[in-house]
């Protein structure tokens, strides 16, 4: 009966409810699958990460706690849309647009991208020149402007295509700079902690030597007065180190 109700809700509500297997994620089950994975690791006597291990023949109520394998074909569906693992940029050739740059294999020797920059600059200059020509044609015979407008459109589309081709490269480049800044931050933090540590160590050493004086003096009969002096000294030292 409850299953029927669930199915009914799934169809009628605007936003679908979570998949029914969410109920399997109880603390007990989560703990159990963790134990099972740990056992499997020990049985294999291999030192791989328990999180990455896959268990075969799980009981029914634990089956959903193991994430599914990545799709073999590289394609999957979510909310009725198709997704693929490798998102390819549509080629210019097939869309009836004149291609104004050489194939990737023919440019950018040694994998560097100077050629791309040159091509982009050339396209930018061509855009201006073509616009100049367009205004000229418009002033003489507007009926013939159609071809020029197509040229300009092609130039723009080519430009965008080259830009989008470069996106993966830029993404990697951003990752590099982010990692670099994180590295710098971590190192700075480590150094700051070390600095404080050294400071405190120096302070403790200072205290240690004071204490020794203190003890040697404390035994003397006139120690009472001296003690106060020493405490004052200690406070001055502390204030000095930790302003």
């Amino acid at each position: 009966m409850a299953d029927d109700d669930d199915a009914q809700n799934q169809i009628s509500s605007t936003f679908p409810p979570p998949p029914p297997f969410w109920k399997d994620f109880t603390p007990d089950n989560v703990a159990r699958i963790k134990d099972l994975k740990q056992e499997q690791v020990e049985r294999d006597a291999a030192d791989h990460d328990p999180a990455s291990i896959r268990l075969a023949g799980l009981p029914h109520n634990l089956r959903f706690l193991q994430p599914p394998l990545p799709p073999d074909a590289g394609a999957w569906r979510v909310f009725g849309n198709h997704y693929t693992l490798n998102q390819t940029l549509p080629k210019l050739d097939g869309s009836g647009i004149q291609k104004l740059f050489p194939e990737p294999e023919e440019r950018d020797q040694d994998g560097k991208h100077f050629d791309r920059a040159t091509i982009l600059k050339r396209l930018a200059k061509s855009l201006l020149l073509n616009f100049l020509e367009l205004t000229g044609i418009l002033s003489i015979n507007p009926a013939e402007a159609e071809a020029k407008i197509t040229d300009i459109r092609d130039l723009f589309l080519n430009f965008h295509h080259l830009i989008n081709e470069y996106r993966p490269h830029q993404a990697r480049e951003s990752l590099i700079s982010m990692m670099q800044s994180q590295l710098d931050r971590t190192r700075a933090e480590t150094n700051a902690i070390r600095d404080v540590k050294e400071k405190v160590e120096r302070l403790l050493e200072g205290l240690g030597s004071l204490k020794m004086d203190h003890e040697s003096l404390g035994g003397a009969t006139e120690g009472g007065k001296r003690r106060e002096d020493l405490d004052g000294e200690l406070e001055a030292l502390l204030a000095d180190e930790f302003p």
């Binding site: 670099q180 590295l183 480590t190």
Partner: protein, 138 residues
């Protein structure tokens, strides 16, 4: 403000808009000419906004043309500059991957050092704590 590639893309789109805007301005505000001595410019009694062509005075029109042309050149130069500062033009994909791997290793080392430093800090704090507690006022 996005990354440089997006800035470049936006700049190119703006250039296209400027093309359209320039042509629109010239189309709308040019002056009217006669083709022969027998012609004359017909007077229109509509409001200036409703006319197909709303001529601007010669000097204003000229100045606007110059400004539009200068803007186009400026935008084009911006585009070229953006192209020249695109990140990683001199890195190949292999370079990048090697770079990323190296950074990953360095990050692991640095993180371990940080953890160690944190531990040392805790220790020294504990020592400091005991010392401070052991100080008694006379």
């Amino acid at each position: 403000m996005g990354d440089r590639l997006t800035q470049l893309q936006d700049a190119v789109d703006q250039l296209a808009q400027q093309f359209v805007a320039s042509i629109h301005y010239i189309n709308r505000h040019h002056s009217l000419e006669t083709l022969g001595p027998g012609d004359q410019v017909r007077e229109s009694n509509k409001e200036p906004e409703q006319n197909e062509v709303d001529p601007h005075p010669a000097d204003v029109f000229k100045a606007a043309q110059v400004e539009l042309a200068q803007d186009l050149i400026t935008k084009e130069q911006q585009i070229e500059y953006l192209i020249s500062i695109l990140p990683g033009l001199d890195n190949s994909e292999q370079d990048q991957e090697r770079n990323i791997k190296e950074l990953e290793e360095e990050l692991k080392v640095a993180e371990a050092q940080r953890q160690e430093a944190v531990k040392e800090r805790k220790e020294i704090m504990g020592r400091l704590d005991t010392v401070i507690r052991s100080i008694r006022r006379p």
